[in-house]
């Protein structure tokens, strides 16, 4: 029984580790994939609040008592308008940006005018030409 258990644990861990490594090639968050310093890609974004009357207000301006840099501190996301290196790859960084938009839309209850947040992202995958994408949070 002990031998079977030992074998199961070792085989399980080895298979799980190899699966994580394989999954790292297509997932945004490369959990346990150990892909280090993967890209020299960079990105920047203009992030705005789109209000119910159609105005587009940059999140760099405080609103309803909220500050973007307090809601999204300690990472490149804090100052999205500056061009940053995507430390763990572009896919990973932009996945965080999309999640951050949703997080802010969900966690600003005193804001009664914003319908959604929108980021116009310019990204440079290594030395490829720039690519422009628009991300939106869910509608509040």
């Amino acid at each position: 029984m002990r031998v079977v258990g030992r074998r199961a644990v070792v085989v399980g861990v080895v298979c799980a580790q190899l699966a994580f490594i394989a999954a790292g090639y297509w997932s945004d968050h490369k959990t346990f994939a150990f892909q280090m310093f993967p890209e020299a890609s960079t990105w920047r974004a203009d992030v705005v609040r789109v209000t119910s009357d159609g105005r587009r207000v940059p999140v760099s301006k405080p609103w309803a008592g909220y500050h973007w840099d307090e809601l999204v501190p300690d990472s490149a996301l804090t100052y999205p308008a500056s061009r940053h290196h995507a430390d763990a790859g572009l896919a990973n960084q932009l996945a965080f940006l999309r999640s951050a938009l949703d997080y802010v839309a969900r966690n600003t209850p005193c804001d009664h005018e914003t319908r959604y947040l929108e980021a116009t992202v310019t990204s440079w995958h290594n030395d490829d030409p720039p690519r422009i994408e628009v991300f939106r949070s869910h509608v509040r």
């Binding site: 030992r6 074998r7 959990t31 150990f34 892909q35 993967p38 999204v72 965080f96 999640s99 030395d127």
Partner: protein, 363 residues
């Protein structure tokens, strides 16, 4: 019974024998001592934030799964501090299993609280703690062993089935192998574009260097070759650790690799953890070489022989009796001893290539 079935049964038997063979857990015990302070370094930003009244959920975070349990603020902060205390106990070897399992559980819980907590070095730390938690690595180099001795109880067997050691060796090798392979498969990396662009992007940080050095460091042609060298270095470490003939070279290269990464990038605890884990590649048997050394150096050698590679005896001159019975004296003996002590190994390992040392070891 077919030949294929018999072959697979004998392979399974060989694997079972390998995983179950009792080996000394000394290297894991030493790693346990090292990992305690590394856990404290890892926890430092979380503890610092908690002292300022902030925790992860006060700002942007992203749970991996909606069902993952989140604790009340006070309980979460208390757990972080409990992890710090447990890490100290783990390092000292006091209530070793409980302390190690607690440290592992809390570090792992915290890691999976948010995708924003995840970094490769933290994943590696979590794996190392997981292996230490299942390995009986508190039977030596621990207060538990000391307390047992003081109570007059017989020491516990420092040997245990080898499977946790093999598992950690696999994970250690995978860290380098996966990193190297991902770069090998990426034409931008292997072709040199990525490291060249990173050098160009870091030009401001190179500002203190002379302009001709900066010009060389940002020359694209340099990285066509350098990228391949970096990738092959990672793959060499991953593979070289597995064979005795290349193991010491791989360890030596791995130390340089980690030091250079530490100097050039912000990698949290990766470098110190990576170097610490290298001790698991020591042969898992102890005191299988005899070292005769004069009385004055006896305590020093015993104090530095953290992996218990030598049975140290007083002698009139320096002499090592190797595992195969070969006797070494003088400089070759000194080189061999220094190459087997963790603190001096990196400096002494290249000296093993000196012709005089090689001749003496072959004799």
């Amino acid at each position: 019974m077919s030949a294929t079935a018999a072959g697979s049964r004998s392979l399974a038997g060989a694997v079972d024998e390998l995983l179950g063979r009792p080996v000394r857990m000394r290297s894991l015990a030493l790693l346990r001592v090292f990992v305690g302070p590394i856990v404290l370094l890892h926890l430092q930003p979380f503890l610092s934030d908690s002292l300022d009244g902030r925790i992860y959920s006060d700002a942007f975070y992203e749970p991996y799964a909606a069902w993952y349990p989140e604790l009340p603020r006070g309980v979460y902060v208390a757990l972080l501090w409990l992890a710090a205390v447990a890490a100290i106990f783990m390092s000292l070897g006091f209530l070793t299993w409980l302390a190690t399992a607690t440290t592992f559980a809390i570090v792992a819980y915290n890691l999976f609280l948010s995708t924003t907590h995840f970094h490769n070095n933290r994943a590696y730390l979590c794996i190392v703690l997981g292996v230490l938690a299942v390995a009986p690595c508190g039977r030596e180099l621990s207060l538990d062993a000391l307390i047992r001795r003081r109570r007059g109880l017989p020491p516990l067997d420092p040997r245990a089935p080898a499977w946790p050691l093999w598992l950690l060796r696999f994970e250690c090798s995978i860290v380098y192998g996966a990193s190297g392979m991902s770069k090998l498969l990426d034409p931008d990396w292997f072709g040199g574009t990525v490291p060249w662009m990173r050098a160009v992007q870091s030009r401001d940080e190179l500002g203190a260097l002379p302009s001709w050095v900066i010009s060389i460091l940002t020359n694209r042609d340099l990285y066509t070759g350098a990228a391949k060298f970096i990738v092959l270095t990672e793959l060499f470490i991953a593979c070289g650790l597995w064979w005795r003939g290349t193991r010491y070279a791989a360890v030596w290269v791995a130390v340089i690799f980690h030091v250079s990464i530490q100097a050039s990038a912000s990698v949290q605890v990766f470098s110190v953890l990576g170097i610490a884990v290298l001790v698991i590649w020591a042969v898992p048997s102890t005191r299988d070489r005899v070292l005769f050394v004069d009385e004055r150096r006896l305590a020093l050698v015993r104090g530095l022989d953290w992996l218990a590679r030598f049975r140290v005896e007083p002698g009139s001159h320096l002499e090592v009796i190797d595992r195969d019975g070969t006797s070494l004296r003088g400089r070759p003996a000194a080189v061999l001893v220094l190459s087997r002590l963790p603190l001096t190994a990196w400096f002494a390992l290249p000296a093993l290539l000196l012709p005089a040392v090689r001749r003496a070891r072959r004799a």
